[in-house]
Assembly symmetry: C2
Homo-oligomer: 313 residues x 2
Amino acid sequence: MSHKLMQMQRAETGPPPVRPIMLGIAGDSAAGKTTLTGGLVRALGAERSTSLCVDDYHRYDREERASLPFTPLHPDCNYVEIMEQHLQLLATGKPVLKPVYDHSNGTLTRPVLLEPREFVIVEGLLPLYTKLARACFDVTVFLAPPEDIRTRWKITRDTTKRGYTEEKVRAEMQRREPESERFIRSQRSNADIVIVFSPIEGRDDPPDTPLSATILLRPTIPHPPLAEILAETPSKAMHVKLMRDLDGSPVDALHIHGYAPTEQSTAVANAIWERLPVDEPLPDGLGRLAEGERNEPLRLAQLILLYHLMGGA
Amino acid sequence: MSHKLMQMQRAETGPPPVRPIMLGIAGDSAAGKTTLTGGLVRALGAERSTSLCVDDYHRYDREERASLPFTPLHPDCNYVEIMEQHLQLLATGKPVLKPVYDHSNGTLTRPVLLEPREFVIVEGLLPLYTKLARACFDVTVFLAPPEDIRTRWKITRDTTKRGYTEEKVRAEMQRREPESERFIRSQRSNADIVIVFSPIEGRDDPPDTPLSATILLRPTIPHPPLAEILAETPSKAMHVKLMRDLDGSPVDALHIHGYAPTEQSTAVANAIWERLPVDEPLPDGLGRLAEGERNEPLRLAQLILLYHLMGGA
């Protein structure tokens, strides 16, 4: 250790910071990251949890990007090294002065102080891109809706909230496709959990059937005892199947059926919730979609993540 | 060490960063910090050195401060903890995303990437305010011109560059006085070197005589061998005297005479420069004032700092 490092360590005051539990959620634009995160923060409470979006680490604003050969998905378009640094600081319980990218007008603005809480949820395009960033997380998630569903979600959001036309959104998605594949979808292999919201293949459900979800659980971390939970709550709400992910790695695929009766998925939800070290009843804020509707597979996905965050057993 | 700290350390890539030599220059508003720093950066070269102003760590913009009970001098008006964090990162060779306060209009704007170089010069109102910040520096300086001279400098700058009237500047200085004393001038005791630009007391020099300087050298770090240098270059340019600083601590007071002939102070300048591990001749950018004039005591002060930065012997 250098003398200056020693000086700095001796000059630290106050109690050693508490190390938060960190969850990283990666996924392409409009993959559902904010919706997933929102329910978790509501369930954990704003006093105990904080969330941040690492797209704030964009290196260029919208105007500067217009003359650059890459899209915001490219690591060179982001302060990846600073993102890693801030994730390390948060993971060791230290505050950061986080940059701010204003999605409404595409400008970089005044940074904000972010103090870690007991739970820190980090979402964005590239949170799992580097080994050092991944080392900061206790649990990692990749959101992977099929492209046709993500396109629908992105058009809805970007035309209503970000001032784009449908034509522009489609053109931009096409322009981003090579970088989506190379930098965003490649993070899927590094996630402990992959969540795919999508209708069940081969079923002919009526058009307003809630979306189902497939949750792939990699044996990189210990997951909730699903076989045990399924045995307790025999239902149509979900089933588990051993399979291989796209990269060939073995996973447990948990299929959660959007068409199942709410009582049945609520029974499963309660069975997971009971395994968490809490006394309160199942929180109300789970499973909420942007428009205020609810989705049972989203609720179960959030409960599995809460199990990991809160230390279920 | 926690398992996550271990994970992070293992995930670090690339060679270990080089630790820069760090100089901290504290002083009140318009005390001459930027002028002193400018000559050092010119002498060291922009490739080898970088400077930053910690007033960029202001927590509130000018508009927000209008309704707050303290001035920008108050630590609570600054992200002191983030300043400490960034100084630690720079001192250990890491880049930071530095906030930016725009003095021209009093707003906080988009942060900038700052990568440490071989020499990092940090100036501002509060760089020596905390023990942890001080632990990051190899050399520390406090600039302490007499208040009447600082008032003149501040009026000149703030009326020409920051859009204030003389009346407003004087009113603001009065409002700041208690915080100047409590937070700014208190840093003087923690500096290795105190620099006071001021006419020599008791002399009746013509009004355009260049300002003299008194440089107080605390025995907290080893200083250039001034007795030896003075013996080599018998001149009117300077003399050394043992005395006590305002806080009673023993110091060597180096009096540099603004009225001395330039040849004589140049001889002293060369005698210091020859003790530095460089082959080039004495650099031209030293001693330059804001208006393009030159001041020999400023040049000698900068040379003493270069001696500390470059490792003179």
